[in-house]
Symmetry: C2
Subunit: 172 residues, 2 copies
């Protein structure tokens, strides 16, 4: 199945900078059958995991976060870049290749003991997803797994997430 | 129904600037039953409208865009801030209270004759949604309606969208 879905991903050389092969998911997203199969692949894997919250990461992660929460019948939690959330926040910084970045979550977004699935579109170095998992744990939640549409396995992002089950619909 | 869902919205005075009452949707999003009812309200309204694509606006609009496309069995198209999309783009600028902003869409995201639902979390002045509808039309698509979780009716954003059906789950 993943091989079929791979044919819906558009490869863009030298984006955003020279030497990077960008995996463009918009060609999968716009294909109704492809989008359904990608969502269902994650849903089927975790439908018996008693998920209480789906936490997703700004911005493309939200495409998955809303639909998976709906399918599980649970709530969805958006993690955002600094300054976007209006209420009391937890925040977590992580290293990028150059410099660092920060993501934020409302302090009341996850309840003590919540079983949480963290989702994003792409697993690269794993820094963002690890920061998201840390935020969930700061709030007292339990990270059941981290799921992606695509994993770039060469970058070994799963190492940074080795405390958790890591699942990707498509692996490169 | 909208009155029940209103009780899940958190009012935050003076955010992002003094004098603005911010309608925080994260308290609705994290409520599984509330999220399901909000999504179903839009789905029920347009389920017989033969929607071919759901176009949503970065970032919170993506929460709705992914799930509604899944429900309709069609593709989802993310409109993004400048510089984020990797392939050939159409772009549209619109006025803000101070200055202007631009959103972009891949040139191949919408096909000639596609019946499109545009979705976002919040209707305020309508500028962003109008720019989104313009992009859909530039690509040859037909905007069937524009749907929101919340409409701030005092700001009269629907006037800028008067060519289209406008639907909001919650009206203030």
């Amino acid at each position: 199945m993943a091989e079929d879905l791979k044919s819906l991903i558009r490869d863009i050389p030298d984006f955003p900078v020279e030497g990077i092969l960008f995996r463009d998911i918009t060609t999968l997203l716009k294909d109704g059958a492809g989008w359904k199969r990608a969502v269902d692949a994650i849903y089927e894997r975790f439908k018996d995991a008693r998920i209480d919250k789906v936490v997703s990461i700004e911005a493309r992660g939200f495409l998955l976060g809303g639909v998976l929460a709906y399918k599980f019948g649970c709530g969805t939690v958006p993690l955002r870049k600094p300054g976007k959330l209006p209420w009391e926040k937890l925040s977590e910084s992580y290293d990028l290749e150059y410099g660092s970045a920060t993501i934020e979550m409302h302090r009341d977004a996850v309840d003590e003991g919540d079983r949480v699935l963290v989702v994003d579109d792409l697993l690269a170095t794993g820094g963002t997803a690890r920061a998201a998992a840390n935020l969930v744990e700061k709030a007292g939640g339990e990270v059941i797994a981290v799921a992606f549409l695509i994993a770039l396995t060469d970058l070994e992002g799963a190492k940074l997430l080795d405390k958790y089950e890591v699942f990707a619909v498509i692996n490169y």
